[in-house]
Subunit: 459 residues, 2 copies
C-alpha cells in the first residue's frame, strides 16, 4: 500500500469527513457549565456510534462521577504494538459571545479554516484519529497495530475523574504507549513534537467585608472596601516585572539546561508577527528569560477573572462588601500542584488585608510532565512529520496543560507521544476558535504513516 493511496482516500472523502466533523462540533459539550450536562451525553453517544461504525469493538460509554468516558478497542494485530489513543470531547465555555464572528456551535469554513468551539481543541484532532482508523481499514483491510480509545469529557475542567477511572481500568487500558493529539505545531508548516507540558493549580478567592453593600458616602473612609482589600492581596502575588512573589514558588522548578536554551533559541521566532497577531505593542514577563522560555518552561500565576461591586452601565457609588477572583498557576517540572496550592494558601493568610474575611476554594490540579526526546517513538513520530511536511520537526514543550498526561505517566507508566496539529493562533479558549484545514489534511497522513511505522517497532 502506498502513501499515495492514503492521500487519495482522504482527498476523495474530504467533503464527507468534514460533514461528519461538523455534526461533532455542533454539540455544545461545555464541561464546566452544568446546563450542558445533556449535551455531554449526546456527544459521548456520537463518539460511541462513530467508533462502532469504524468496526471498533467493545465500545462503551463508561460513567464516572462526572461526564462519561468513551472507550473502544480493536486488538487483532497479533504481535504488534498496542496504541492507546486519548483525546477529549469537551470544550471551553464560549463567552464573551459577542466577539464571535460566527456562532461557536455552527461550524463555518472561511479561508480554508474551520471556525467552531472545539475545532482544534480538541474535537477536530480526536476526529482525525477516527478518520485514520477508517482509512487504514479501507486501504489495508486491517490495522497495522492494536488500538484502544479513551475519550474523556472533562479535560477542560482538569480531568477530575479520569485518574480514578484509569486506576480502576489499568488492565483494560494497558498499552505500549499513549498517542495524544491535543498540542500545537511550532508554526504554520513547521511540525513539533512536544516533550513536556505545564501543569495547573489554582484557587478562587472570595473576600467578604460588611454584610451587604454600603453607601460610599455614609461609610466611605470608615469601613474596609472588599475590592480594595482584594486588589491589595492580588498586588502582593506578582511584581511589576511578572515575577511571582509567593514564598517558595520557584523552589522546585527544574532549571532549563544550556542545551534546551540553545535549542529554543535556534527555533524561528518572529516577535513582531506574534505581537501583531495577538494585538499587543510589547510582550511582557519575567526578566532573564526569552518569550519561548517563559511560556514553555517557566511557571505563571494568572488572574483569570475578577468581579465585585457594581459593574453595570453608569455609576453606582457603592462601597462593595464582596469581591471574588479566580487565579490559576501554570506549573513546570518539578513543581507539585499540592505544594503550590499550600504555598498560595500561606501567602493569602499572610497578606489578608484588614477588615475582611477570605475564603479559598481550590480548583482541580494537574501535574507538569516531561519525557526525554530521544525515545524511539518520538523519533519515529518526528520522521512521519518530516515525510509529510518536508521540514525538520521541532522538539518543543507545551505551555498548556493536558492534566491527564501526568496521570497516565504515573498510573500506566508508559510513554506518552504528543502529536498535535493545532496552531497557537487558533484561539483555543477564546472567541473565534478555528482549525487550519491544511493541517487537518496533512495530519491525517502523518498519523497514518506513524501507525504503519510503529507496526515495525519492537516496544
Amino acid at each position: 500500500m502506498t502513501f499515495n493511496s492514503f492521500e487519495d482516500y482522504f482527498k476523495k472523502n474530504r467533503k464527507k469527513h468534514l460533514q461528519q466533523l461538523f455534526e461533532f462540533l455542533k454539540i455544545p459539550s461545555i464541561s464546566s457549565l452544568s446546563e450542558h450536562k445533556k449535551d455531554m451525553e449526546t456527544c459521548a453517544l456520537w463518539l460511541k456510534d462513530h467508533l462502532e461504525q469504524l468496526k471498533i469493538e467493545n465500545v462503551s460509554i463508561d460513567h464516572t462521577a462526572g461526564h462519561p468516558v468513551v472507550y473502544g478497542e480493536w486488538l487483532h494485530a497479533e504481535g504488534k504494538p498496542t496504541v492507546l489513543f486519548y483525546g477529549h470531547y469537551d470544550v471551553q465555555p464560549v463567552d464573551p459571545l459577542h466577539l464571535w464572528e460566527s456562532e461557536p456551535f455552527k461550524p463555518e469554513i472561511r479561508d480554508d479554516k474551520l471556525y467552531a468551539r472545539g475545532a482544534s481543541d480538541d474535537k477536530g484532532q480526536v476526529f482525525m484519529q477516527l478518520k485514520v482508523i477508517e482509512a487504514l481499514f479501507a486501504i489495508l483491510g486491517t490495522l497495522p497495530v492494536n488500538v484502544k480509545f479513551l475519550y474523556e469529557g472533562e479535560e477542560e475542567i482538569g480531568s477530575p475523574h479520569l485518574p480514578s477511572y484509569v486506576e480502576e481500568n489499568k488492565e483494560k487500558l494497558s498499552a505500549d504507549f499513549i498517542l495524544i493529539s491535543d498540542t500545537s505545531m511550532y508554526a504554520p508548516g513547521k511540525p513539533a513534537i512536544c516533550y513536556g507540558l505545564r501543569g495547573l493549580a489554582g484557587v478562587q478567592i472570595d473576600v467578604l467585608g460588611a454584610k451587604g453593600d454600603l453607601h460610599s458616602g455614609l461609610y466611605g473612609g470608615g469601613v474596609q472596601n472588599a475590592i480594595h482589600a482584594l486588589v491589595e492581596l492580588l498586588a502582593s502575588f506578582r511584581n511589576d516585572e511578572g515575577v511571582i512573589q509567593v514564598e517558595g514558588f520557584y523552589d522546585d522548578v527544574l532549571p532549563l539546561s544550556e542545551e534546551e536554551r540553545k535549542a529554543y533559541a535556534s527555533l524561528p521566532f518572529d516577535e513582531e508577527a506574534l505581537k501583531k497577531e495577538i494585538g499587543v505593542k510589547e510582550l511582557f514577563g519575567e526578566k532573564g528569560y526569552s518569550y519561548i522560555e517563559r511560556t514553555w518552561a517557566r511557571p505563571t500565576l494568572e488572574i483569570n477573572g475578577i468581579t465585585g461591586g457594581f459593574t453595570g452601565e453608569g455609576i453606582k457609588t457603592v462601597l462593595p462588601n464582596e469581591a471574588s477572583v479566580k487565579i490559576t498557576c501554570r506549573l513546570v517540572p518539578n513543581q507539585d500542584p499540592d505544594k503550590i496550592v499550600a504555598l498560595l494558601r500561606q501567602h493569602i493568610e499572610k497578606h489578608t488585608p484588614k477588615g475582611v474575611t477570605i475564603t479559598v476554594t481550590e480548583f482541580d490540579k494537574g501535574a507538569p510532565y516531561i519525557t526525554p526526546f530521544d525515545h524511539p517513538l518520538i523519533q519515529t513520530a518526528s520522521h512521519s512529520y518530516e515525510k509529510v511536511y518536508k521540514v525538520p520537526t521541532a522538539f518543543t514543550r507545551g505551555g498548556g496543560s493536558i492534566p491527564i498526561v501526568a496521570s497516565f505517566d504515573e498510573i500506566l507508566n508508559i510513554p506518552v507521544v504528543l502529536m498535535g496539529f493545532g496552531l497557537d493562533t487558533e484561539n483555543f479558549h477564546a472567541p473565534n476558535e478555528h482549525f487550519h484545514l491544511a493541517n487537518f489534511d496533512k495530519g491525517l497522513l502523518v498519523l497514518t504513516d506513524f501507525l504503519c511505522e510503529v507496526s515495525n517497532l519492537q516496544l
Copy 2:
C-alpha cells in the same frame, strides 16, 4: 392653630398618606439605567399631578437634556420669606436583586419600617414635603411662607443637567433659602442638622491588553494580563491603612478645627453597635482620625466595581485582555472635583503598567459644601427638631453627596438648610432600603413647625 391640630391631621390621614406614598414608590425611577427612561417620565408626571392637587400653581415638567425637572410654586404669602423645596424622585439601581427580602418596587411595611427602593432616599422625604403643604393648607387655610418646588430626576447620577437648569431659571428659582430633606438623623431619636457635605468625583478605568482573551497555557508568562495590570494600578492608589497615595490629593483639604473635633468627639457613638449592624469585625481607615472624622470630613477613594475575564461558574484558564473598574472619590471642603480628576489622570498615567493601554472616562462631579452653623435658619430648624424629638439637635456633616447643594450655593447664592429624616442604617444604596415610619411621622411635625416659625423671620 396648635401643634396638636397638625399632629391630629397627620394621624387621621396616615393611612391615606402611606397609600399615596406606596404609589410613588412603585414607579421604578432608576435614573442610571436607560431602560427606565419611561418610568422617569411617569414619576415626574405623578409629582406634577400631586402638586396640582395641593393647589400649587404653575406646575410644570421642565425637560432637560436628561430626565425632567418638576417645578411648582405658591407665592401668596405677601412679605413672608420664600422657601425653595428641593428633592429628587430618581432612585439607585437595585442589584443584587436576590438580596432583597421584598421586591424593591413593591413597598411593604414590616415592623413599622417601610421597605422599598427610594423609601428614604429620597422619595419618602420628598413626599413629606408635599404632605406638610397639604396639612398647612388644611389647618391654616393658607401657607405661612411662599414656596417653590424643584424636584429633579438625576440626583443619583450626579445631577448632570440641573446646574444649567438652575442657571437658566435663576429668576424663577429665586428664594430666601433652600430646604432639602435628603440627609440623615444622627441616630434613632437624635435629630441632626447637617452643615457640610462631601463632594464627588470619579472615573472609570478600562484596561486593554491583547486584542482578545488568550489561552493562559500558550501565552501565560509571555504577555501582560489586563487584570494583573489593573490590580497593579489600583494597588498604587491607596496604602494598606486606607491613605490615598495620589500625589496632591490631600493638598486642599480644609483641616478639622479643634472645635469641630471636640464637637464630634462629644457625640454618642457606639462602635460595637455599628460593627454589628453592618456586619464587620473591625472598622478600617486612615490613622489619626476617628470614624466620624473619616466619614464626615476626610476624602476617600473608593473602588465601586471591578470586572474582567471569566467570572462564571467553574474555571476558565484564560489570560484576559480586558479589565474595567469604577472609582469614585468623596471630596471634602475645599477640594475641587476638576483638580482631583486631573490628579487621578496624572497618577494613572504615571502608574500605567507595561503592556496595556488605559482609557479613562470621567463621571459627573459634585463639589463639597460647608455652611456656618450659627445662621438663624439653622438655629430655627434646630429648635423645631427639639420641640418634636425632645433632645438636643446634633450639628453634623454628611459623608454623602447632594451634588446640587454646591451648585445652589454657587448659582443662587442663598443658604441651604438640610433637614433630613433618614437613618444611616436604612440601606439607601443597597438591598432592603427602608424608612422608619416613626421619623416619617415626627418629621412631618418638624417641617410644619419650621415653616410656621420661618414665617416670623426677617431674612
